[in-house]
Point group: C2
Chain length 300, copies 2
Amino acid sequence: MRVFVVHYSEIALKGKNRSLFEKKLIENIKRKIDAKIRRESGRIIIEDDNAEISESLKKIPGIKYFALAEVADLDIEEIKEKALSLVSGGTFKIETKRSNKKFPLTSIDINRIVGEYILNKKNIKVNLKNPETTVFIEICDKQCYLYTEKIYGVGGLPCGVSGKVITLLSGKKSALASFLMMKRGAEVVAVNFSKTNDVVSYAKKLSEHHKIKLYIIPKIVSREEMIRIANEIAKKENAKGIVVGDVIPESGDIESLSKLYSLSELPVFTPVICFDKIEYPVEIFEREPVSQTKIIEFNN
Amino acid sequence: MRVFVVHYSEIALKGKNRSLFEKKLIENIKRKIDAKIRRESGRIIIEDDNAEISESLKKIPGIKYFALAEVADLDIEEIKEKALSLVSGGTFKIETKRSNKKFPLTSIDINRIVGEYILNKKNIKVNLKNPETTVFIEICDKQCYLYTEKIYGVGGLPCGVSGKVITLLSGKKSALASFLMMKRGAEVVAVNFSKTNDVVSYAKKLSEHHKIKLYIIPKIVSREEMIRIANEIAKKENAKGIVVGDVIPESGDIESLSKLYSLSELPVFTPVICFDKIEYPVEIFEREPVSQTKIIEFNN
Protein backbone atom coordinates (compact mmCIF):
# COMPACT_ATOMS: atom_id res chain seq x y z
CA MET A 1 0.00 0.00 0.00
CA ARG A 2 1.10 3.49 -0.71
CA VAL A 3 0.75 6.44 1.69
CA PHE A 4 0.34 10.17 1.39
CA VAL A 5 3.35 12.15 2.65
CA VAL A 6 2.38 15.71 3.57
CA HIS A 7 4.84 18.61 3.87
CA TYR A 8 3.77 21.81 5.53
CA SER A 9 4.99 25.35 5.11
CA GLU A 10 7.95 26.20 7.25
CA ILE A 11 6.74 29.68 8.00
CA ALA A 12 5.52 29.01 11.53
CA LEU A 13 7.78 26.18 12.45
CA LYS A 14 9.95 28.14 14.82
CA GLY A 15 10.07 27.12 18.45
CA LYS A 16 6.90 26.39 20.37
CA ASN A 17 4.59 27.27 17.47
CA ARG A 18 5.70 24.13 15.70
CA SER A 19 3.86 21.58 17.76
CA LEU A 20 0.68 23.68 17.90
CA PHE A 21 0.86 24.04 14.13
CA GLU A 22 1.32 20.30 13.56
CA LYS A 23 -1.41 19.30 16.00
CA LYS A 24 -3.88 21.69 14.42
CA LEU A 25 -3.01 20.60 10.90
CA ILE A 26 -3.53 16.93 11.78
CA GLU A 27 -6.84 17.82 13.44
CA ASN A 28 -7.93 19.71 10.31
CA ILE A 29 -6.88 16.86 8.00
CA LYS A 30 -8.79 14.37 10.17
CA ARG A 31 -11.91 16.46 9.72
CA LYS A 32 -11.72 15.92 5.98
CA ILE A 33 -10.12 12.49 5.73
CA ASP A 34 -11.04 9.26 7.42
CA ALA A 35 -7.73 7.40 7.61
CA LYS A 36 -4.87 6.62 10.00
CA ILE A 37 -2.79 9.78 10.25
CA ARG A 38 0.50 10.21 12.12
CA ARG A 39 3.54 12.46 12.36
CA GLU A 40 6.98 11.29 11.32
CA SER A 41 10.18 13.30 10.98
CA GLY A 42 8.46 16.65 10.42
CA ARG A 43 5.93 15.27 7.95
CA ILE A 44 2.41 13.98 8.22
CA ILE A 45 1.86 10.44 6.95
CA ILE A 46 -1.63 9.38 5.86
CA GLU A 47 -1.86 5.60 5.69
CA ASP A 48 -4.22 5.34 2.76
CA ASP A 49 -3.82 5.65 -0.98
CA ASN A 50 -7.35 6.56 -2.02
CA ALA A 51 -7.11 9.10 -4.86
CA GLU A 52 -9.93 11.22 -3.39
CA ILE A 53 -7.68 12.13 -0.49
CA SER A 54 -5.57 14.09 -2.93
CA GLU A 55 -8.46 16.43 -3.79
CA SER A 56 -9.02 17.21 -0.11
CA LEU A 57 -5.34 17.76 0.68
CA LYS A 58 -5.00 20.29 -2.13
CA LYS A 59 -7.38 22.61 -0.31
CA ILE A 60 -6.38 22.37 3.34
CA PRO A 61 -4.52 25.51 4.48
CA GLY A 62 -1.11 24.79 5.98
CA ILE A 63 -0.15 22.12 3.46
CA LYS A 64 2.67 23.19 1.20
CA TYR A 65 2.87 20.05 -0.91
CA PHE A 66 2.19 16.33 -0.68
CA ALA A 67 2.82 13.14 -2.59
CA LEU A 68 1.43 9.68 -3.02
CA ALA A 69 4.48 7.63 -2.04
CA GLU A 70 5.82 4.09 -2.14
CA VAL A 71 6.95 2.85 1.26
CA ALA A 72 10.25 1.04 1.83
CA ASP A 73 11.95 -0.20 4.97
CA LEU A 74 15.09 1.63 6.02
CA ASP A 75 17.14 -0.74 3.93
CA ILE A 76 19.14 0.38 0.91
CA GLU A 77 18.40 -2.80 -1.07
CA GLU A 78 14.66 -2.27 -0.75
CA ILE A 79 15.04 1.44 -1.51
CA LYS A 80 16.93 0.61 -4.70
CA GLU A 81 14.18 -1.75 -5.90
CA LYS A 82 11.35 0.66 -5.11
CA ALA A 83 13.19 3.52 -6.82
CA LEU A 84 13.74 1.35 -9.88
CA SER A 85 10.01 0.60 -10.08
CA LEU A 86 9.24 4.34 -10.27
CA VAL A 87 11.35 5.05 -13.35
CA SER A 88 10.06 3.97 -16.74
CA GLY A 89 12.07 5.64 -19.49
CA GLY A 90 13.65 8.92 -20.57
CA THR A 91 16.03 10.80 -18.28
CA PHE A 92 15.97 10.81 -14.49
CA LYS A 93 17.62 12.00 -11.32
CA ILE A 94 17.46 11.04 -7.64
CA GLU A 95 16.83 13.66 -4.96
CA THR A 96 17.21 12.40 -1.40
CA LYS A 97 16.23 14.09 1.88
CA ARG A 98 17.65 12.32 4.91
CA SER A 99 15.62 13.55 7.90
CA ASN A 100 16.69 10.51 9.90
CA LYS A 101 20.34 11.26 10.62
CA LYS A 102 20.87 7.79 12.09
CA PHE A 103 20.56 6.24 8.66
CA PRO A 104 24.14 5.18 7.80
CA LEU A 105 24.30 6.62 4.27
CA THR A 106 24.31 10.35 3.46
CA SER A 107 21.91 11.85 0.93
CA ILE A 108 24.73 12.08 -1.62
CA ASP A 109 25.61 8.40 -1.05
CA ILE A 110 21.99 7.42 -1.60
CA ASN A 111 21.66 9.50 -4.77
CA ARG A 112 24.78 7.81 -6.16
CA ILE A 113 23.97 4.23 -5.11
CA VAL A 114 20.36 4.31 -6.26
CA GLY A 115 21.25 6.19 -9.46
CA GLU A 116 23.91 3.67 -10.44
CA TYR A 117 21.58 0.77 -9.71
CA ILE A 118 18.90 2.19 -12.03
CA LEU A 119 21.49 2.93 -14.75
CA ASN A 120 22.67 -0.69 -14.65
CA LYS A 121 19.14 -2.06 -14.84
CA LYS A 122 17.55 0.17 -17.44
CA ASN A 123 18.48 1.78 -20.73
CA ILE A 124 18.05 5.29 -19.38
CA LYS A 125 20.19 8.40 -18.76
CA VAL A 126 20.80 10.72 -15.83
CA ASN A 127 19.95 14.39 -16.36
CA LEU A 128 20.52 16.50 -13.26
CA LYS A 129 19.31 19.78 -14.74
CA ASN A 130 16.08 18.90 -16.46
CA PRO A 131 15.17 15.23 -15.92
CA GLU A 132 11.90 13.75 -17.19
CA THR A 133 11.49 11.87 -13.89
CA THR A 134 12.78 12.93 -10.49
CA VAL A 135 12.66 10.22 -7.84
CA PHE A 136 12.28 11.87 -4.45
CA ILE A 137 13.56 9.68 -1.60
CA GLU A 138 12.76 10.70 1.98
CA ILE A 139 14.57 8.83 4.73
CA CYS A 140 12.38 9.26 7.82
CA ASP A 141 12.56 7.81 11.33
CA LYS A 142 10.53 4.66 10.72
CA GLN A 143 10.43 4.20 6.99
CA CYS A 144 11.52 5.52 3.65
CA TYR A 145 9.09 7.21 1.24
CA LEU A 146 9.63 7.39 -2.51
CA TYR A 147 7.64 9.35 -5.09
CA THR A 148 7.99 11.17 -8.38
CA GLU A 149 5.27 13.83 -8.19
CA LYS A 150 4.89 16.69 -5.73
CA ILE A 151 1.33 18.06 -5.59
CA TYR A 152 1.11 21.61 -4.31
CA GLY A 153 -1.58 22.75 -1.87
CA VAL A 154 -2.80 26.24 -0.97
CA GLY A 155 0.00 26.80 1.55
CA GLY A 156 -0.38 29.21 4.44
CA LEU A 157 -1.16 28.15 8.02
CA PRO A 158 -3.66 25.64 9.43
CA CYS A 159 -7.01 27.25 10.24
CA GLY A 160 -7.31 27.88 13.93
CA VAL A 161 -3.69 28.58 14.88
CA SER A 162 -4.03 32.36 14.66
CA GLY A 163 -7.38 32.91 16.33
CA LYS A 164 -10.99 33.50 15.35
CA VAL A 165 -12.59 36.28 13.32
CA ILE A 166 -16.02 37.33 12.12
CA THR A 167 -16.11 38.12 8.41
CA LEU A 168 -18.81 40.10 6.67
CA LEU A 169 -19.49 37.85 3.71
CA SER A 170 -21.40 39.38 0.84
CA GLY A 171 -19.62 38.67 -2.44
CA LYS A 172 -16.38 37.98 -4.18
CA LYS A 173 -14.17 40.51 -2.42
CA SER A 174 -15.30 39.55 1.07
CA ALA A 175 -14.99 35.86 0.15
CA LEU A 176 -11.43 36.53 -0.93
CA ALA A 177 -10.75 38.41 2.32
CA SER A 178 -12.16 35.44 4.27
CA PHE A 179 -10.09 32.96 2.31
CA LEU A 180 -6.89 34.95 2.84
CA MET A 181 -7.59 35.14 6.58
CA MET A 182 -8.15 31.37 6.62
CA LYS A 183 -4.79 30.89 4.95
CA ARG A 184 -3.22 33.03 7.68
CA GLY A 185 -4.55 30.57 10.22
CA ALA A 186 -7.84 32.21 11.18
CA GLU A 187 -10.96 30.31 12.15
CA VAL A 188 -13.71 32.08 10.20
CA VAL A 189 -17.30 32.74 11.21
CA ALA A 190 -19.13 34.49 8.38
CA VAL A 191 -22.12 36.82 8.64
CA ASN A 192 -24.36 37.72 5.76
CA PHE A 193 -27.24 40.15 5.53
CA SER A 194 -29.02 39.25 2.34
CA LYS A 195 -29.00 35.49 1.76
CA THR A 196 -28.36 35.41 -1.93
CA ASN A 197 -27.37 32.16 -3.61
CA ASP A 198 -24.03 33.76 -4.30
CA VAL A 199 -23.23 33.98 -0.61
CA VAL A 200 -24.18 30.39 0.06
CA SER A 201 -21.99 29.29 -2.81
CA TYR A 202 -19.06 31.32 -1.51
CA ALA A 203 -19.55 29.85 1.96
CA LYS A 204 -19.52 26.39 0.41
CA LYS A 205 -16.32 27.15 -1.43
CA LEU A 206 -14.70 28.42 1.76
CA SER A 207 -15.84 25.33 3.62
CA GLU A 208 -13.87 23.16 1.21
CA HIS A 209 -10.77 24.58 2.83
CA HIS A 210 -12.03 24.42 6.39
CA LYS A 211 -15.42 24.28 8.00
CA ILE A 212 -16.98 27.70 8.44
CA LYS A 213 -20.07 28.78 10.24
CA LEU A 214 -22.40 31.14 8.39
CA TYR A 215 -24.87 33.41 10.15
CA ILE A 216 -27.60 34.66 7.89
CA ILE A 217 -29.48 37.73 9.03
CA PRO A 218 -32.69 37.67 7.01
CA LYS A 219 -33.17 41.40 6.67
CA ILE A 220 -31.47 44.29 4.96
CA VAL A 221 -29.68 46.61 7.35
CA SER A 222 -27.33 49.58 6.99
CA ARG A 223 -23.55 49.05 6.93
CA GLU A 224 -23.41 50.62 10.39
CA GLU A 225 -25.90 48.07 11.64
CA MET A 226 -23.87 45.27 10.03
CA ILE A 227 -20.82 46.31 12.04
CA ARG A 228 -22.89 46.36 15.24
CA ILE A 229 -24.38 42.92 14.64
CA ALA A 230 -20.98 41.49 13.67
CA ASN A 231 -19.67 42.69 17.03
CA GLU A 232 -22.55 41.02 18.84
CA ILE A 233 -21.83 37.75 17.08
CA ALA A 234 -18.12 38.17 17.84
CA LYS A 235 -18.93 38.32 21.55
CA LYS A 236 -21.03 35.19 21.32
CA GLU A 237 -18.38 33.38 19.29
CA ASN A 238 -15.44 34.72 21.29
CA ALA A 239 -13.90 36.09 18.08
CA LYS A 240 -11.20 38.75 18.28
CA GLY A 241 -11.66 40.77 15.12
CA ILE A 242 -14.02 41.72 12.29
CA VAL A 243 -12.87 41.16 8.71
CA VAL A 244 -14.23 43.15 5.77
CA GLY A 245 -13.76 42.88 2.02
CA ASP A 246 -13.71 46.64 1.55
CA VAL A 247 -11.57 48.01 -1.27
CA ILE A 248 -10.65 51.69 -1.79
CA PRO A 249 -12.24 53.47 -3.62
CA GLU A 250 -15.13 51.10 -4.53
CA SER A 251 -16.19 50.72 -0.89
CA GLY A 252 -15.56 54.36 0.02
CA ASP A 253 -12.68 56.69 0.77
CA ILE A 254 -10.52 56.59 3.89
CA GLU A 255 -12.72 58.96 5.85
CA SER A 256 -15.98 57.09 5.21
CA LEU A 257 -14.42 53.70 5.94
CA SER A 258 -12.77 55.12 9.03
CA LYS A 259 -16.13 56.42 10.28
CA LEU A 260 -17.72 53.04 9.68
CA TYR A 261 -14.97 51.05 11.42
CA SER A 262 -15.02 53.45 14.36
CA LEU A 263 -18.42 52.00 15.24
CA SER A 264 -16.83 48.60 15.84
CA GLU A 265 -15.76 47.63 19.34
CA LEU A 266 -13.36 45.05 17.89
CA PRO A 267 -10.68 46.10 15.41
CA VAL A 268 -11.62 45.73 11.75
CA PHE A 269 -9.09 43.85 9.63
CA THR A 270 -8.82 44.95 6.00
CA PRO A 271 -6.84 42.37 4.05
CA VAL A 272 -7.96 43.45 0.56
CA ILE A 273 -8.29 47.20 1.08
CA CYS A 274 -5.51 48.02 -1.41
CA PHE A 275 -6.32 45.28 -3.90
CA ASP A 276 -6.37 46.32 -7.49
CA LYS A 277 -8.20 44.09 -9.91
CA ILE A 278 -5.55 44.67 -12.51
CA GLU A 279 -2.50 43.84 -10.45
CA TYR A 280 -3.51 41.47 -7.68
CA PRO A 281 -4.38 37.84 -7.95
CA VAL A 282 -8.06 38.28 -7.10
CA GLU A 283 -8.62 35.04 -9.00
CA ILE A 284 -6.52 33.20 -6.40
CA PHE A 285 -9.76 32.30 -4.70
CA GLU A 286 -11.48 31.41 -7.94
CA ARG A 287 -8.99 28.63 -8.48
CA GLU A 288 -10.38 26.78 -5.53
CA PRO A 289 -13.44 24.63 -6.08
CA VAL A 290 -16.61 23.16 -2.81
CA SER A 291 -18.73 21.04 0.47
CA GLN A 292 -20.97 21.26 3.40
CA THR A 293 -21.65 24.40 5.32
CA LYS A 294 -23.33 24.82 8.62
CA ILE A 295 -26.00 27.41 8.21
CA ILE A 296 -27.58 29.02 11.21
CA GLU A 297 -30.54 31.33 10.96
CA PHE A 298 -29.85 34.23 13.24
CA ASN A 299 -32.76 36.41 14.24
CA ASN A 300 -31.68 39.75 15.45
CA MET B 1 8.04 69.56 -30.64
CA ARG B 2 6.65 66.36 -29.22
CA VAL B 3 4.42 66.15 -26.14
CA PHE B 4 3.68 63.56 -23.47
CA VAL B 5 0.17 62.15 -23.64
CA VAL B 6 -0.89 60.71 -20.29
CA HIS B 7 -3.70 58.17 -19.82
CA TYR B 8 -5.06 57.48 -16.38
CA SER B 9 -6.79 54.45 -14.93
CA GLU B 10 -10.48 54.36 -15.52
CA ILE B 11 -11.26 52.96 -12.12
CA ALA B 12 -12.49 56.15 -10.53
CA LEU B 13 -13.72 57.93 -13.58
CA LYS B 14 -17.40 57.55 -12.84
CA GLY B 15 -19.51 60.63 -12.27
CA LYS B 16 -18.32 63.39 -10.00
CA ASN B 17 -15.13 61.60 -8.98
CA ARG B 18 -13.73 62.15 -12.43
CA SER B 19 -12.99 65.85 -12.22
CA LEU B 20 -11.56 65.54 -8.68
CA PHE B 21 -9.33 62.71 -9.92
CA GLU B 22 -8.09 64.67 -12.94
CA LYS B 23 -7.48 67.87 -10.97
CA LYS B 24 -5.51 65.99 -8.33
CA LEU B 25 -3.49 64.08 -10.88
CA ILE B 26 -2.52 67.29 -12.70
CA GLU B 27 -1.60 68.88 -9.36
CA ASN B 28 0.58 65.85 -8.50
CA ILE B 29 2.27 65.85 -11.92
CA LYS B 30 2.98 69.60 -11.60
CA ARG B 31 4.77 68.91 -8.31
CA LYS B 32 7.23 66.68 -10.13
CA ILE B 33 7.39 68.28 -13.57
CA ASP B 34 7.95 71.90 -14.55
CA ALA B 35 6.12 72.18 -17.88
CA LYS B 36 2.86 73.37 -19.39
CA ILE B 37 0.24 70.77 -18.52
CA ARG B 38 -3.37 70.69 -19.70
CA ARG B 39 -6.34 68.38 -20.07
CA GLU B 40 -7.68 67.38 -23.46
CA SER B 41 -10.33 64.78 -24.30
CA GLY B 42 -9.84 62.69 -21.14
CA ARG B 43 -6.04 62.78 -21.33
CA ILE B 44 -3.37 64.96 -19.80
CA ILE B 45 -1.04 66.64 -22.28
CA ILE B 46 2.42 67.75 -21.12
CA GLU B 47 3.89 70.21 -23.60
CA ASP B 48 7.51 69.19 -23.27
CA ASP B 49 9.56 66.33 -24.69
CA ASN B 50 12.40 66.16 -22.14
CA ALA B 51 13.25 62.48 -21.61
CA GLU B 52 13.57 62.95 -17.84
CA ILE B 53 9.84 63.57 -17.63
CA SER B 54 9.32 59.96 -18.56
CA GLU B 55 11.13 58.75 -15.43
CA SER B 56 8.88 60.86 -13.20
CA LEU B 57 5.66 59.86 -14.94
CA LYS B 58 6.44 56.17 -14.46
CA LYS B 59 6.16 56.62 -10.69
CA ILE B 60 3.17 58.91 -10.22
CA PRO B 61 0.15 56.99 -8.88
CA GLY B 62 -2.94 57.38 -11.05
CA ILE B 63 -1.12 57.17 -14.39
CA LYS B 64 -1.95 54.03 -16.31
CA TYR B 65 0.29 54.64 -19.29
CA PHE B 66 1.79 57.49 -21.26
CA ALA B 67 3.62 58.12 -24.50
CA LEU B 68 5.96 60.60 -26.08
CA ALA B 69 3.88 61.63 -29.08
CA GLU B 70 4.15 63.50 -32.37
CA VAL B 71 1.55 66.25 -32.72
CA ALA B 72 -0.53 66.78 -35.87
CA ASP B 73 -3.34 69.16 -36.67
CA LEU B 74 -6.78 67.64 -37.08
CA ASP B 75 -6.07 67.16 -40.78
CA ILE B 76 -5.87 63.77 -42.40
CA GLU B 77 -3.05 64.80 -44.76
CA GLU B 78 -0.83 65.87 -41.89
CA ILE B 79 -1.79 62.75 -39.89
CA LYS B 80 -0.76 60.55 -42.85
CA GLU B 81 2.67 62.21 -43.06
CA LYS B 82 3.33 62.03 -39.33
CA ALA B 83 2.26 58.38 -39.19
CA LEU B 84 4.55 57.60 -42.12
CA SER B 85 7.51 59.16 -40.28
CA LEU B 86 6.98 56.79 -37.34
CA VAL B 87 7.29 53.58 -39.34
CA SER B 88 10.70 52.42 -40.47
CA GLY B 89 10.56 48.81 -41.63
CA GLY B 90 9.15 45.41 -40.77
CA THR B 91 5.42 44.94 -40.24
CA PHE B 92 2.99 47.51 -38.87
CA LYS B 93 -0.60 48.29 -37.99
CA ILE B 94 -2.57 51.44 -37.23
CA GLU B 95 -4.71 51.72 -34.09
CA THR B 96 -6.88 54.80 -33.91
CA LYS B 97 -8.86 56.20 -30.97
CA ARG B 98 -11.24 58.96 -31.98
CA SER B 99 -12.17 60.79 -28.78
CA ASN B 100 -13.24 63.82 -30.77
CA LYS B 101 -16.45 62.63 -32.38
CA LYS B 102 -16.69 65.77 -34.55
CA PHE B 103 -13.75 64.61 -36.62
CA PRO B 104 -15.32 63.62 -39.96
CA LEU B 105 -13.60 60.21 -40.36
CA THR B 106 -14.26 57.18 -38.16
CA SER B 107 -11.44 55.21 -36.48
CA ILE B 108 -11.83 52.47 -39.07
CA ASP B 109 -11.62 55.03 -41.90
CA ILE B 110 -8.45 56.49 -40.43
CA ASN B 111 -6.84 53.06 -39.94
CA ARG B 112 -7.54 52.27 -43.58
CA ILE B 113 -6.54 55.61 -45.10
CA VAL B 114 -3.31 55.94 -43.11
CA GLY B 115 -2.45 52.25 -43.54
CA GLU B 116 -2.86 52.42 -47.34
CA TYR B 117 -0.80 55.60 -47.53
CA ILE B 118 2.10 53.95 -45.70
CA LEU B 119 1.83 50.79 -47.82
CA ASN B 120 2.12 52.91 -50.98
CA LYS B 121 5.12 54.83 -49.72
CA LYS B 122 7.20 52.10 -48.09
CA ASN B 123 8.17 48.52 -48.80
CA ILE B 124 6.46 47.21 -45.69
CA LYS B 125 3.62 44.90 -44.74
CA VAL B 126 0.55 45.10 -42.52
CA ASN B 127 0.31 42.57 -39.69
CA LEU B 128 -2.78 43.04 -37.54
CA LYS B 129 -2.03 40.25 -35.08
CA ASN B 130 1.60 40.72 -34.19
CA PRO B 131 3.06 43.83 -35.86
CA GLU B 132 6.60 45.01 -35.22
CA THR B 133 5.34 48.60 -35.03
CA THR B 134 1.91 49.78 -33.93
CA VAL B 135 1.14 53.40 -34.73
CA PHE B 136 -1.33 54.71 -32.15
CA ILE B 137 -3.34 57.65 -33.43
CA GLU B 138 -5.44 59.64 -30.96
CA ILE B 139 -7.88 62.14 -32.39
CA CYS B 140 -8.50 64.65 -29.60
CA ASP B 141 -10.44 67.90 -29.41
CA LYS B 142 -7.65 70.25 -30.44
CA GLN B 143 -5.00 68.08 -32.00
CA CYS B 144 -4.02 64.60 -33.03
CA TYR B 145 -1.32 62.64 -31.19
CA LEU B 146 0.70 59.83 -32.77
CA TYR B 147 3.10 57.44 -31.10
CA THR B 148 4.41 53.89 -31.26
CA GLU B 149 5.34 53.12 -27.65
CA LYS B 150 3.10 52.98 -24.58
CA ILE B 151 5.02 53.33 -21.31
CA TYR B 152 3.20 51.87 -18.31
CA GLY B 153 3.11 53.63 -14.93
CA VAL B 154 2.26 52.29 -11.46
CA GLY B 155 -1.49 52.70 -12.02
CA GLY B 156 -3.86 53.16 -9.11
CA LEU B 157 -5.31 56.51 -8.03
CA PRO B 158 -3.70 59.94 -7.59
CA CYS B 159 -2.43 60.49 -4.05
CA GLY B 160 -4.81 62.66 -2.12
CA VAL B 161 -8.15 61.66 -3.66
CA SER B 162 -8.98 59.11 -0.97
CA GLY B 163 -7.93 60.97 2.17
CA LYS B 164 -5.00 61.05 4.57
CA VAL B 165 -3.48 58.35 6.75
CA ILE B 166 -0.68 57.93 9.25
CA THR B 167 1.54 54.95 8.51
CA LEU B 168 3.90 53.32 10.98
CA LEU B 169 7.03 53.06 8.84
CA SER B 170 9.72 50.72 10.08
CA GLY B 171 10.84 48.41 7.27
CA LYS B 172 9.94 46.67 4.08
CA LYS B 173 6.45 45.46 4.97
CA SER B 174 5.29 48.81 6.33
CA ALA B 175 6.85 50.53 3.32
CA LEU B 176 4.88 48.23 1.07
CA ALA B 177 1.72 48.94 3.06
CA SER B 178 2.38 52.70 2.66
CA PHE B 179 3.02 52.34 -1.05
CA LEU B 180 -0.18 50.36 -1.58
CA MET B 181 -2.19 52.97 0.33
CA MET B 182 -0.61 55.70 -1.83
CA LYS B 183 -1.70 53.79 -4.92
CA ARG B 184 -5.24 53.69 -3.54
CA GLY B 185 -5.17 57.49 -3.41
CA ALA B 186 -4.04 58.10 0.17
CA GLU B 187 -1.92 61.03 1.26
CA VAL B 188 0.66 59.41 3.54
CA VAL B 189 2.28 60.80 6.68
CA ALA B 190 4.82 58.32 8.03
CA VAL B 191 5.97 57.92 11.62
CA ASN B 192 9.10 56.09 12.66
CA PHE B 193 10.45 55.24 16.07
CA SER B 194 14.06 54.25 15.46
CA LYS B 195 15.60 56.39 12.72
CA THR B 196 17.58 53.75 10.92
CA ASN B 197 19.03 54.45 7.49
CA ASP B 198 16.65 51.87 6.14
CA VAL B 199 13.65 53.92 7.09
CA VAL B 200 15.03 57.08 5.55
CA SER B 201 15.72 55.20 2.34
CA TYR B 202 12.21 53.75 2.29
CA ALA B 203 10.77 57.22 2.87
CA LYS B 204 12.87 58.48 -0.03
CA LYS B 205 11.60 55.70 -2.26
CA LEU B 206 8.01 56.49 -1.32
CA SER B 207 8.58 60.17 -1.98
CA GLU B 208 9.46 59.36 -5.58
CA HIS B 209 5.82 58.49 -6.06
CA HIS B 210 4.43 61.40 -4.08
CA LYS B 211 5.78 63.67 -1.38
CA ILE B 212 5.48 62.19 2.07
CA LYS B 213 6.09 63.67 5.46
CA LEU B 214 8.15 61.60 7.89
CA TYR B 215 7.98 62.08 11.64
CA ILE B 216 10.94 60.60 13.46
CA ILE B 217 10.52 59.91 17.16
CA PRO B 218 14.06 59.64 18.46
CA LYS B 219 13.41 57.07 21.15
CA ILE B 220 12.40 53.47 21.40
CA VAL B 221 8.87 52.92 22.65
CA SER B 222 6.52 49.96 22.98
CA ARG B 223 4.13 49.05 20.17
CA GLU B 224 1.27 50.28 22.36
CA GLU B 225 3.00 53.63 22.73
CA MET B 226 3.55 53.76 18.95
CA ILE B 227 -0.19 53.45 18.38
CA ARG B 228 -0.86 56.21 20.90
CA ILE B 229 1.68 58.58 19.33
CA ALA B 230 0.42 57.78 15.82
CA ASN B 231 -3.04 58.83 16.96
CA GLU B 232 -1.69 62.09 18.37
CA ILE B 233 0.01 62.84 15.07
CA ALA B 234 -3.17 61.89 13.21
CA LYS B 235 -5.09 64.53 15.16
CA LYS B 236 -2.48 67.15 14.34
CA GLU B 237 -2.41 66.14 10.67
CA ASN B 238 -6.16 65.65 10.38
CA ALA B 239 -5.59 62.08 9.16
CA LYS B 240 -8.45 59.59 9.28
CA GLY B 241 -6.71 56.26 9.80
CA ILE B 242 -3.56 54.48 10.97
CA VAL B 243 -1.85 52.08 8.56
CA VAL B 244 0.36 49.22 9.73
CA GLY B 245 2.56 46.72 7.90
CA ASP B 246 1.61 43.88 10.23
CA VAL B 247 1.53 40.38 8.77
CA ILE B 248 0.04 37.28 10.45
CA PRO B 249 1.75 35.39 12.04
CA GLU B 250 5.10 37.28 11.98
CA SER B 251 3.59 40.32 13.72
CA GLY B 252 1.40 38.30 16.08
CA ASP B 253 -1.83 36.34 16.04
CA ILE B 254 -5.31 37.80 15.68
CA GLU B 255 -5.82 38.23 19.42
CA SER B 256 -2.56 40.10 20.06
CA LEU B 257 -3.02 42.35 17.02
CA SER B 258 -6.62 42.94 18.00
CA LYS B 259 -5.54 43.99 21.50
CA LEU B 260 -2.96 46.35 20.05
CA TYR B 261 -5.34 47.98 17.55
CA SER B 262 -7.99 48.36 20.24
CA LEU B 263 -5.75 51.00 21.79
CA SER B 264 -6.13 53.18 18.70
CA GLU B 265 -8.85 55.83 18.58
CA LEU B 266 -8.74 55.82 14.78
CA PRO B 267 -9.30 52.58 12.86
CA VAL B 268 -6.15 50.69 11.92
CA PHE B 269 -5.92 49.69 8.24
CA THR B 270 -4.09 46.44 7.52
CA PRO B 271 -3.37 46.21 3.79
CA VAL B 272 -0.69 43.50 4.00
CA ILE B 273 -2.02 41.45 6.93
CA CYS B 274 -2.58 38.35 4.79
CA PHE B 275 0.46 38.75 2.60
CA ASP B 276 2.48 35.66 2.03
CA LYS B 277 6.04 36.10 0.85
CA ILE B 278 5.69 33.12 -1.43
CA GLU B 279 2.54 34.11 -3.23
CA TYR B 280 2.21 37.84 -3.15
CA PRO B 281 4.18 40.36 -5.15
CA VAL B 282 6.00 41.83 -2.17
CA GLU B 283 8.68 42.91 -4.63
CA ILE B 284 6.16 45.19 -6.30
CA PHE B 285 7.54 48.00 -4.19
CA GLU B 286 11.12 46.93 -4.82
CA ARG B 287 10.66 47.59 -8.49
CA GLU B 288 10.29 51.25 -7.79
CA PRO B 289 13.46 53.29 -7.42
CA VAL B 290 14.01 57.62 -5.28
CA SER B 291 13.94 61.90 -4.14
CA GLN B 292 13.52 64.43 -1.50
CA THR B 293 11.73 63.80 1.78
CA LYS B 294 10.61 66.30 4.31
CA ILE B 295 11.91 65.12 7.67
CA ILE B 296 10.56 66.58 10.85
CA GLU B 297 12.04 65.81 14.23
CA PHE B 298 9.15 65.19 16.53
CA ASN B 299 9.83 65.29 20.25
CA ASN B 300 7.19 63.54 22.19
